[in-house]
């Protein structure tokens, strides 16, 4: 092989090793979840060939397990995440249109305030938010899980959409206005249809942040039936100790599969979001 060929081969080898570190843990997870319930922690020797074959029934067991009904957690996660995504898309796109397209006094100062809220650590907000939500009677309800703890999605989403909206040519607005469109009409008929990738980016981030949020969800859901998946999963550790690995990993796989699917489908939108906030920020 030529010297150049060797170099490229080495390059791929390094890339593969790094990829192994990010992928193999999930392979281990998947195969551990297929071991028998009372089995010992799988070793390297029997990871891929569990005693008594693959136990796919672990999934049915975990989903319908009486004390920790994972199907119920999954339903909660879907409801909460859908609610957050729709709510945040509406809030952010409206605000971003105002900031990007309309001139009004104090516009930049208010936008700057939006950016500043991203600096607030969640830790500062959680105790007062909990007390506020308690007063509102939203604890242990979908309202409490969907509405309060989303300041990052709102600020980041507004920022991201604004950055996108300012790049849409003004001539499109003007044409729509000449056709008699109001501001809302321009927003709805011109800006939104040409911003699908940016909207997808905001939705993707809101989805991931909400699906994997642990701290707020832990506090806002106290009863068994209101827990989202992430909190339910941590309860698995508490109730099984670290003994029944196969069932724990079954639950972990159930939590991760939707996230991975969304990531694989919307991959480039994640990249776009990170890059926009990093470069133009």
């Amino acid at each position: 092989m030529s010297r150049r060929g060797v170099k490229i081969a080495l390059h791929y080898l390094v890339l593969l090793l790094i990829a192994a570190s990010t992928v193999l843990p999930f392979v281990w997870m998947l195969f551990t979840s297929l071991h028998g319930q009372r089995a010992e922690l799988p070793t390297m020797a029997n990871l891929f060939s569990p005693a008594g074959g693959y136990h796919f029934d672990n999934y049915r067991y975990v989903l319908t397990y009486g004390e920790l009904p994972v199907w119920r957690f999954a339903v909660n996660s879907v409801i909460v995440t859908t609610g957050v995504v729709l709510f945040q898309l509406a809030l952010c796109s409206l605000a971003a249109f105002g900031f990007a397209r309309l001139h009004f006094r104090g516009r930049n100062s208010i936008f700057f305030l939006f950016l500043l809220t991203m600096m607030i650590p969640g830790q500062v907000l959680i105790v007062p938010l909990f007390l506020m939500v308690q007063k509102l009677g939203w604890l242990d309800s979908y309202w409490g899980l969907i509405i309060p703890y989303q300041y990052l999605s709102t600020a980041f989403g507004t920022f991201l959409l604004r950055q996108f909206f300012v790049t849409i040519p003004h001539s499109l607005d003007e044409a729509a206005r000449l056709d008699g469109c109001s501001e809302l009409g321009v927003f709805w008929h011109v800006i939104l249809p040409s911003s699908k990738p940016a909207l997808a980016t905001v939705a993707a981030f809101a989805f991931i942040w909400t699906w994997t949020d642990f701290y707020w969800a832990l506090l806002a859901s106290s009863s068994r039936t209101m827990r989202p998946l992430e909190v339910g999963l941590s309860a698995f550790r508490d109730s099984y100790g670290m003994t029944c690995w196969s069932l724990q990993m079954t639950a972990a796989v159930i939590v991760l599969v939707p996230v991975l699917l969304v990531f694989l489908a919307l991959q480039r939108y994640f990249v776009r979001g990170v890059v926009t906030s990093g470069i133009k920020g």
Binding site: V124, P128, F214, M242
Partner: protein
């Protein structure tokens, strides 16, 4: 034409109203409320909340456990930020070559960043598990190697024998090292993506000029890439530091602050104060200390944002 439109379009306020009200109610009011709480002795299960002034803050300054938590947070940040930034830069350069299927690698490296940290923590508990974990396989191999080789130059290698039953998460130093390594692994993807974009923004002409001046690869990196990447580097460093200051879920899942409080970072300390001791006032004071720590770092980022806005304004 922009100029013939009214300068102050009141409809703008209508568009931004929902999000602005949302942020006011769910971030500005709680921030102010937290400040108020921090000046009171506010037990969550008691009905009287006496005003104590700066009492919580002076108590914190004198409290060795809280000072320890601040110290642990700084140790964690000082270890994880340089490692995280440098590793992401190296990986970004590795995947910036025009090679086949490079996009697949980028995607794979991003995966841990979007995953549930509770699930990832479970995997790391296994990785670090005594006797059966991934690392114990490595140790077994090293032990075997040491036994087979026996000695090098008269030095007996059996002194390096590591007991397989060692629980790394229960050892001072090792638990922290595990958290640092884990954060490097989780945050690799987003940091890498920002660096890739930064690398792409470097004008090719600079490299051509460097080549004309007879620069070797190392010099190209040192005199072109690094200086051109400075703003990206600053951004990544600041955001990584802010995230490091807020480390929570892995500590909750893997160490609960132990062993001997060596991984009791500020976020976890606040969690304990508020939800295990129910001292909401003291917890709020602690959260303001964390806020101050973050602001010290964030001023750089705020300055960058301000500059970006001004530049846009000038361009319009």
């Amino acid at each position: 034409m922009i100029s013939d439109r009214p300068r102050n379009n009141w409809r703008g306020y209508l568009f931004i109203a929902p999000a602005t009200i949302y942020l006011a109610v769910f971030s500005l009011i709680p921030v102010a409320f937290a400040a108020y709480l921090s000046l009171h002795r506010w037990h969550l299960l008691k009905s009287d909340h006496p005003f104590v002034g700066w009492g919580n803050y002076t108590a914190l300054a004198a409290n060795p456990l809280f000072r320890g938590a601040v110290w642990n947070t700084l140790v964690y940040a000082m270890a994880s930020v340089p490692l995280g930034v440098v590793s992401a830069l190296v990986v970004a350069m590795l995947v910036s070559r025009p090679l086949k299927v490079i996009g697949v690698f980028r995607a794979l490296y991003y995966i841990p960043a979007v995953c549930s940290q509770v699930a990832l923590s479970m995997v790391w508990i296994w990785i670090l598990l005594p006797e059966k974990g991934l690392i114990s396989y490595g140790i077994r191999f090293l032990n075997l190697l040491a036994e087979t080789v026996g000695s090098i130059g008269g030095m007996d290698l059996s002194m390096f024998h590591i007991d397989l039953s060692t629980d790394l998460l229960a050892m001072r130093g090792w638990a922290m090292a595990a958290l640092v390594l884990m954060s490097m692994w989780i945050g690799l993807g987003p940091r890498m993506v920002i660096f890739i974009a930064g690398l792409q923004n470097i004008p090719e002409t600079l490299y051509e000029a460097a080549d004309l001046d007879g620069c070797n690869r190392w010099q190209r990196f040192w005199y072109v890439t690094l200086p051109q990447l400075a703003p990206t580097m600053l951004f990544v460093t600041v955001t990584t530091t802010i995230a490091a200051f807020q480390l929570f879920t892995p500590v909750y899942m893997m160490t609960q602050g132990g062993p001997q409080r060596t991984t009791d970072v500020v976020s976890f300390h606040i969690f304990q104060e508020a939800w295990r001791k129910y001292e909401a006032g003291m917890a709020s004071a602690q959260s303001y200390v964390l806020f101050a720590m973050i602001l010290v770092v964030a001023v750089f980022q705020i300055a960058l944002m301000r500059k970006g806005l001004d530049r846009e304004e000038a361009a319009q």
